[in-house]
């Protein structure tokens, strides 16, 4: 249990998928101008990560890992090199399925999230979390916690960033630094802030 809590805290703050591993930057910089859309995209990412990461764990451990196909009678087959292709395919399929389910049962939610869902397929954070999950050899409960809390960390970062950008509109930024430049430096300062949580021990 303690282990799970520390994975959750670590992936939300110190090992934030965006601020420490630079994943999901494209959509982070493109969408963070407006707080409402940033919140929508953040929620969509939490949603997709919570679902896809455990599914990818199941796929990896029952189909791809060395010796995983023992249940089908092929104990020496190692398909782990296929993980990149298969993970991206599952992500795309799950996002598509989610889109259809949300459209069918909650048109209001679809209206606010719908635009962001296709964007998420190519969000590096989703694939990155699945690959980190394999590299760090997490168990199934650890994977579930890691997926969800990475999503929360990403959402927290993008929502904070959009709030800061709203304030920045009133700041007097040198002309060459406006736009992308100041955004990167702000992100750097945010990353310093998030790293301060490294001092907390449970």
């Amino acid at each position: 249990m303690e282990n799970l809590i520390s994975i959750a805290l670590n992936s939300i703050f110190v090992g934030n998928i965006l601020l420490a591993y630079f994943l999901g930057m494209c959509s982070f910089l493109a969408i963070s101008k407006n707080m409402k859309t940033a919140t929508g995209l953040g929620i969509a990412v939490v949603f997709v990560l919570t679902v896809t990461t455990p599914v990818n764990w199941l796929i990896y451990h029952f189909l791809l890992a060395p010796g995983a196909l023992a249940w089908a009678g092929f104990p020496e087959v190692d398909l782990s090199y296929l993980k990149l292709v298969l993970f991206i395919a599952t992500t795309a399929a799950i996002v598509q399925a989610l889109e259809m389910v949300i459209d069918r049962y909650s048109p209001a939610l679809y209206a606010s999230l719908g635009v962001f869902l296709p964007l998420i397929t190519v969000n590096c954070a989703i694939l990155g979390v699945s690959l980190f999950m394999v590299e760090r050899a997490y168990t199934f409960p650890e994977t579930a916690v890691y997926g969800a809390s990475s999503g929360i960390g990403w959402a927290l970062a993008i929502i904070t960033m959009s709030a800061i950008q709203k304030k920045l509109r009133y700041a007097d930024v040198p002309s060459g630094l406006q736009g992308f430049g100041i955004n990167m430096i702000t992100t750097g300062l945010m990353a310093i802030g998030f790293m301060l949580f490294a001092g907390i021990s449970l």
């Binding site: 601020l19 420490a20 591993y21 630079f22 994943l23 999901g24 930057m25 494209c26 910089l29 493109a30 090199y81 296929l82 993980k83 990149l84 292709v85 991206i88 795309a92 190519v122 969000n123 590096c124 989703i126 694939l127 990155g128 690959l131 980190f132 590299e135 040198p174 002309s175 060459g176 630094l177 992308f180 430049g181 100041i182 955004n183 990167m184 430096i185 992100t187 750097g188 300062l189 990353a191 310093i192 790293m195």
Partner: protein
């Protein structure tokens, strides 16, 4: 008159579509600083020059060959499933690159960890396939992919240069800061080795470039 011929040839080269594609991707519309694409997987590997260079080379090869293949197939790909086809081509190339790195440069491949795999979701690769290769002939797409990869790689290696120099005082792993500097109280800047350093350096890079470009125009 060989001089005039030479000039003529140079002019014709400058007007050729391949040259235009190359120049545009390298300077005017550099993928990182202008299109703000593909920084995702790039920054985490810029702590050292070596990893950054390997990453830049693998990305360049993946972009160039995926553009070549997609452009050759462009009349055969049905438009409504084109993204799936593109991602499949890119993913196959990335798996090849990953396996090659693991076979020939195991140490570096371990340091790059998941970031080689993340080339698949790098917006530059898909963006070039979508935006250029689908509507241009194979050779020109190949050059365009190559140029975009090199443009991206140059920013990556530039960031890595400063991060390694300021963060560890080394260049490709060789110490370049003279020892008496340390005796006089010089300290390596640990911040540069951490994530925030990369963000701040990229920000400063963009500042420099914007200022230079706007001066040129004015």
């Amino acid at each position: 008159m060989p001089d005039a011929v030479k000039r003529n040839r140079l002019q014709r080269l400058r007007k050729s579509p391949s040259y235009k594609a190359l120049a545009k991707a390298l300077w005017e519309a550099n993928p990182i600083s202008k299109q703000i694409l593909g920084i995702c997987s790039s920054l985490a590997v810029t702590v050292q020059m070596k990893t950054a260079l390997v990453m830049a080379v693998s990305l360049t090869l993946v972009v160039a060959f995926s553009s070549l293949i997609i452009s050759s197939l462009r009349r055969a790909i049905p438009p409504n499933i084109r993204i799936m086809v593109e991602v499949t081509v890119i993913a196959t190339l990335v798996v090849l690159a990953d396996e090659c790195l693991r076979a020939f440069m195991y140490e570096v491949s371990r340091q790059l960890s998941v970031f080689v795999g993340l080339i698949i979701t790098n917006c530059i690769v898909l963006g070039r396939a979508e935006g250029y290769a689908l509507s241009n002939p194979p050779w020109r797409s190949f050059v365009d992919g190559l140029a975009n990869g090199i443009g991206y790689g140059s920013v990556l290696v530039g960031v890595a240069f400063f991060r390694e120099l300021l963060g560890s005082g080394t260049f490709f792993g060789y110490p370049v800061v003279p020892p008496f500097f340390y005796k006089m109280g010089y300290v390596n800047n640990g911040l540069m080795r951490l994530a925030p350093g990369a963000f701040i350096i990229i920000g400063l890079f963009v500042w420099l470039e914007h200022t230079m470009l706007s001066k040129k125009k004015g």
